[in-house]
Each structure stands twice: as structure tokens, then as C-alpha cells.
């Protein structure tokens, strides 16, 4: 499908040919690079002679979180206008009267958006290599973080695609996508904290263990999962590994959610399933 789907080829051609693509890449690297190099500069000013591996670890953590936040902005931003943008440009109807299937259109547009996001992530590898050069982070952690990025990107992209298919206007689609992404990134952990506090009640001594819902919400929170990949412990005293390892819960859950969102988007894009265009 990747080699033959015309929508994918067109999207890649349009996306990578534009000046905007270069500009986004430039700004992305500027922000991420500014974080890393600025942090290194501040450390170097304090201790100009040596570079402590624990500082390298801090840089890695900061870089990873910064990259996650940027992914949370860039990925839904790229996908949230993919279908609604076609609708606004009045090109969608023509596309739907061709022999292309709605699922093909949805997946192609998502893959092209993800391809650009992967380019952004790949472009930051030299910055990550600075961290590796000074030690303090294992290659397995680095691969774990990049695998985590791919799963998160898939989810954020699927959320953007679903919103773009559902809403007619790109503005509303983008705002909703960011809202859902913010809930996944921050809302789940706030909800976990709330349930955790309510479940503990006012009784003393405090009961041991945490509700399964708290465990689950913690396991699907991207920031918590990222910190755990980086070696931090889980919050609220939840167990390290529940029924499955935390990273597997995160991966399986979001791959399933993302896939369901894409299937739903494909069905919704089919013009004969809707009463009105």
C-alpha cells in the first residue's frame, strides 16, 4: 500500500515539497536543541572541567519529555486538518468519487503525517547522541524511548484523524485533538490522583494497595510511562508491573484504541454511510 497508494504519494510530495515542512523542522530542532545545549551550557558554567554522567541522565530525561510534549503538539496538528482540510478546500467529494477506498485515504494521510513526525524525531538523534556520548543512559533505554514515541505518535495521529473526520472545520478539529491529547497526557494522571485520594478515604491506618483504575490510569499516562522507561518509579505506590508490564499495557491499549479510531474514521468517511455531506 505504501508504494502504490496515490494519496500517500501525493501527500508526501505536497508535504515535503513545501517550505513549511523545512520551517517546522528548523523550529523543532531549534526548540529541542535549545533545551539541550542551553542546559549543558548552564552545567558547564558551574563545573567546567568535568561532565557528570548523572547530569547526562537529567539532560536525557528533559530531552525525552520535551520531545514528548512537542510530539503532542505536532502530531495532532498535522493530522487534525487532513480530512477537514480536504473538505474545506472542497477536494474531498472529488476524492470520494474515485476508486480509492475511505480506509485507504485515512491510512495514507495518517502515514504521511507520521512520516513527517518520524523525520522530526530522527532529526533529533544527533542531540540524543550527545547524551549517549557522556554516558549515564543505556542504549536499551534510548530504544525504549523511541519505541514509546512511535506508539504515542500513532495514538496522537489517530486522535487527530478521528477529529478531522468528525468535525467539518479544521479549527474545531485541531482544538478538540489538543484537548484529547492533553487529557491523555495530564488528565489521566490527575484522574488517577483523584481516585487514589477518594479511595483512601479518611480512615486510619490507610488501606494498602491501590484501586485497579488508578493502576490502569497510571499505566496509560504517557508522561508517567516515559519517566518509568527512564528509570523513575511509579507514583501513588502502584505496583511496578500489573497483569502485564507497564510498557506493554501502554502499547497494547493505545495500539488498540488508535486502530479502533482509524476504523471508525474510515467508516465515517464513507459518503453513503452518512446522511449528509
Amino acid at each position: 500500500m505504501i508504494n502504490t497508494n496515490p494519496v500517500l504519494l501525493k501527500e508526501l510530495r505536497q508535504r515535503f515539497r513545501s517550505f513549511k515542512a523545512s520551517l517546522i523542522l528548523f523550529i523543532y530542532l531549534l526548540v529541542i536543541g535549545g533545551f539541550v545545549l542551553g542546559f549543558m551550557y548552564l552545567n558547564w558554567r558551574q563545573e567546567a572541567v568535568v561532565f557528570n554522567p548523572s547530569q547526562s541522565r537529567e539532560i536525557f530525561a528533559m530531552l525525552s519529555v520535551a520531545q514528548l510534549i512537542l510530539l503532542g503538539f505536532v502530531t495532532p496538528g498535522l493530522t487534525a486538518g487532513s480530512i477537514s482540510g480536504e473538505r474545506e478546500r472542497q477536494t474531498l467529494n472529488v476524492l470520494l468519487t474515485t476508486e480509492l477506498r475511505p480506509a485507504g485515504i485515512i491510512f495514507s494521510k495518517m502515514i504521511s503525517s507520521c512520516a513527517f513526525t518520524i523525520l522530526l524525531i530522527t532529526a533529533t538523534l544527533p542531540l540524543f547522541s550527545i547524551v549517549l556520548m557522556y554516558g549515564g543512559v543505556s542504549p536499551s533505554q534510548l530504544w525504549g524511548v523511541f519505541g514509546f514515541y512511535l506508539v504515542s505518535m500513532y495514538l496522537f495521529a489517530a486522535v487527530g484523524m478521528a477529529c478531522s473526520t468528525f468535525f467539518r472545520r479544521t479549527g474545531i478539529s485541531t482544538v478538540t485533538s489538543y484537548g484529547i491529547t492533553a487529557f491523555i497526557g495530564a488528565g489521566t494522571v490527575f484522574l488517577a490522583a483523584f481516585i487514589y485520594e477518594v479511595s483512601r478515604g479518611n480512615v486510619y491506618p490507610r488501606p494498602e494497595g491501590v484501586p485497579l483504575s488508578v493502576q490502569f490510569l497510571v499505566d496509560i499516562n504517557p508522561v508517567v510511562v516515559l519517566m518509568r522507561i527512564l528509570g523513575e518509579g511509579p507514583p501513588f505506590g502502584v505496583s511496578e508491573n500489573w497483569l502485564l508490564p507497564y510498557w506493554l499495557v501502554y502499547t497494547v491499549f493505545y495500539l488498540v484504541v488508535g486502530t479502533l479510531l482509524l476504523i471508525w474514521s474510515s467508516k465515517r468517511l464513507n459518503p453513503l454511510r452518512r446522511s449528509k455531506l
Binding site: P6, N93, V94, T97, P271, L272
Partner: protein, 310 residues
């Protein structure tokens, strides 16, 4: 061939189409005219497999557009009333993209694109970005896009809207060529004289219903029992206009420099009775002539609801 039988469609309480029945034989150009909101675009988008119907059926070459949309899409070329083009693609890439979307092998794209660009007279724009083309060129490119998979049926919703006279003439010429190629064309337009020049048959839609349909000559020459009558009087023009405004069968009256031009619906006998009445009332009639009607007159005659002397 297009066969529409009892097609209906509602949007909430608004009935966009009411029991539309229509047959367009293969190789014919059928013009669909009607005021805004008459249901032309709804009918066309159902045929283009973009909307479901509330009732009835629509068939393209014997295939049901609702139950067999994928097969129908291979047979139709659809140009909507409003459409956009993709930024950052050249005319050649744009057509090649749609050729791929119809699964045409890539090794045939080069020749196909060149042939299509030649058909719509855009050869020199082969490598121009489509977003830089003029509106008329975009319309012609869209017509070329409709033809990439060599469909038998073309559904063109207002293909000449918003174009200057020269661009309209170019679009009209392309539709003529499509007719010569044996394509079945369903075309809608507000530029009524143009439809009369290129269509074999026309249908007039009003409030979702087909109120008149037939060969252009039949519609324009009073086949629907409506005709345009030109009257000239020596004097007393305002009084005469006031008088005939209320006469049975008079649908619309327009004042001209020397007399009046009216749309009259009725038998020849009734037409004669009108002349007799004017003479008996003492109006000095210099001329009373049935004009060869235009499609616009027929359109006004069939869709006009009130009488006016504007």
C-alpha cells in the same frame, strides 16, 4: 444511460427532491436547469454516489448508485459545482494522481495526461502548479480530471459558473467534444442559452420536482404550452400592461420600449382570445407575434410563480 425513478431526498423537513423520474439515453447531453435550491446538486450528488436517497432509485448503465457505488464510480466522471485543487502539484501531477486513484497503470500516465491536457487545451500548462492556474483553466483541468478513467457518463454540476464569456465558450466547446465522443452527459447550469446550444434534452427542476422535460426545441417552442408573445401598441401602453397582467394564462409581463413581451401559457385559441380582447378594448395593436422562445423564456414560464411587469 442514466435512469432515475421516483427519487426523493429530504434534509430535515426540507424536501430537496420529490419523486424525480428521468431517463437520459446513452450518448445524449441532458441539461438540468432550475433556480437555486431546486434540487439539481442533490440529484447530481446522489448519482455521483456521494449521498444516499430517501426513496426511489437511480441507475447508471444499469447499476444502482446506492447498492453498487464502487462499480458506478468507475463509470462516472463527476465535477461538483464548487471544487478546489491541491496546492503544490503541477497539472501533470494532478492528473496523474487521479489516474492512480482509478488504478490506471503508471506507464500509461504520461500519454494519458498529455492527451487530456490537449483535449482541454492546457498543453502549455503541463508543468504549471495547479493553484497558479486561472479559474477558467482550473475548470478545464477539472474536466480533464473527470476523463482520466474514460468514463461513459459525465455529471457536470455548473461547469461554467463564475467564468468569463471566453472561458465559458471554451468549456462549452469541450462539452461538445465530449458529446462527439459519445459520452452521456448530465449538466446543470444557470447560463441557460448555453445549455440550449449543447443539450439534446433539458429538464426544469423546481422545488425538487421535474416540472418540464424534453428536447430543447420542444421546450423552447412552447411544447410545454408556454410561449413568448411580443405586442406593440401605438399608445396606451401602461393601461394595456395593467389589463393583460390579470388575463388568464399570462405568466409574466415585461415592458419594452414600444410594447410588452409576455410569457403566455395556453392553447392557440386562448392566445387568439387575448388578441381579440386587446382589440375590443381599443388598444391600437401594431404587432402581436409569437416569438421563437429561448430556454430562458421557457425556464421563466415554467418556474415563474407570480406575475410581474418588471
Amino acid at each position: 444511460m442514466i435512469e432515475i425513478n421516483g427519487l426523493s431526498k429530504s434534509f430535515g423537513k426540507v424536501e430537496a427532491l420529490k419523486d424525480l423520474t428521468l431517463t437520459i439515453p446513452s450518448g445524449q447531453v441532458y441539461g438540468l436547469i432550475g433556480p437555486n435550491g431546486a434540487g439539481k446538486t442533490t440529484a447530481m450528488s446522489i448519482l455521483a454516489t456521494l449521498q444516499t436517497a430517501g426513496g426511489g432509485s437511480a441507475m447508471v448503465n444499469g447499476l444502482n448508485v446506492i447498492t453498487e457505488p464502487a462499480k458506478v464510480r468507475r463509470m462516472i466522471g463527476y465535477m461538483p459545482d464548487f471544487f478546489g485543487v491541491y496546492d503544490g502539484l503541477t497539472a501533470q501531477e494532478y492528473l496523474s494522481f487521479f489516474a492512480s486513484a482509478y488504478h490506471i497503470p503508471e506507464n500509461k500516465h504520461h500519454q494519458l495526461v498529455n492527451d487530456l491536457l490537449e483535449l482541454v487545451n492546457l498543453q502549455e500548462k503541463h508543468d504549471s502548479y495547479v493553484d497558479n492556474l486561472s479559474r477558467g483553466m482550473k475548470q478545464r483541468l477539472a474536466l480533464a480530471r473527470c476523463l482520466v478513467h474514460d468514463p461513459q457518463v459525465l455529471i457536470l454540476d455548473e461547469p461554467a459558473s463564475g467564468l468569463d464569456p471566453r472561458a465559458r465558450a471554451e468549456v462549452k466547446e469541450i462539452v461538445r467534444q465530449l458529446k462527439n465522443m459519445g459520452k452521456t452527459v448530465l449538466i446543470s447550469s444557470h447560463i441557460l442559452p448555453e445549455l440550449s446550444e449543447i443539450c439534446d434534452q433539458v429538464g426544469i427542476l423546481k422545488n425538487g420536482s421535474l416540472v418540464a422535460s424534453g428536447p430543447v426545441s420542444e421546450i423552447t417552442n412552447g411544447g410545454q404550452n408556454a410561449r413568448v408573445i411580443s405586442i406593440e401598441v401605438e399608445n396606451g401602453l401602461p393601461e394595456m400592461i395593467e389589463h393583460i397582467n390579470g388575463y388568464p394564462g399570462v405568466i409574466k409581463v415585461n415592458q419594452t420600449n414600444t410594447g410588452a413581451r409576455l410569457i403566455f401559457k395556453g392553447e392557440q385559441k386562448a392566445q387568439g382570445a387575448l388578441l381579440k380582447e386587446l382589440v375590443q378594448e381599443g388598444y391600437p395593436v401594431l404587432q402581436f407575434a409569437v416569438q421563437s422562445g429561448s430556454l430562458e423564456d421557457a425556464f421563466m414560464a415554467v418556474t415563474g410563480e407570480g406575475k410581474s411587469n418588471d
